[in-house]
Subunit: 124 residues, 2 copies
């Protein structure tokens, strides 16, 4: 772009936050419900996932349900609850796996889900 | 717990940040590579995903690859690149879909992937 066009260029906006700088390791779990039509079951699982935030090595979390976005072939709307956790490192994720609060969550809530898929992600 | 036991209780730790308070809508895309063994292809796709951070409605992003976590049946290690985006609302996600930078990314990088799965998540 020529220097003379700068005055008419769009006003620059702040870039998005690169979460990987703060939270390099992501652990994303999707739960498919045993009773997909039960709001009570879904609420119980959401509440269960929220208990995990007391685990020291979890630095940030997002607990969610299916968003009302466009229906496209590539978008999977079939799951029930999303558990998105951020850690400082792989050791933090490993510590979470065997943490008593996590084991208690599994004991209390595993009857609610039918299938689980986990994605473990490292900052690129 | 009786008041007298407080002195021997474990030191409380800070709770994890609830990202949903800041970023209610999550858009998580997993790419399976056409050439899973090509580091060059993976690097090109990672670089492509990072161009998305200039899109105004993306508030935060995490770009990643498969983490070296334990091999368990529920953990999917078969994908190549993860694109994790956060938005203020559904409108922000819709605006991203048709944004010129996103369309340019698809034009430049779609030959690199074989399959895509998208999860759209709303804060619970």
């Amino acid at each position: 772009m020529a220097a003379g066009t700068a005055a008419t260029a769009a006003i620059p906006t702040l870039p998005a936050i690169q979460l990987g700088n703060k939270y390099p390791v992501v652990h994303h779990v999707f739960f498919w419900m045993k009773n997909p039509g039960s709001k009570a079951d879904r609420d119980q699982l959401v509440a269960g996932v929220k208990t995990l935030k007391k685990i020291e090595t979890i630095k940030a979390l997002h607990v969610g349900v299916v968003a009302d976005t466009e229906k496209r072939d590539v978008v999977d709307h079939s799951w029930g609850v999303s558990e998105l956790l951020f850690f400082d490192n792989l050791e933090g994720q490993a510590a979470y796996q065997t943490h008593p609060i996590h084991l208690e969550f599994i004991k209390n809530c595993s009857h609610l889900w039918d299938k689980v898929i986990v994605y473990d992600i490292a900052e690129a």
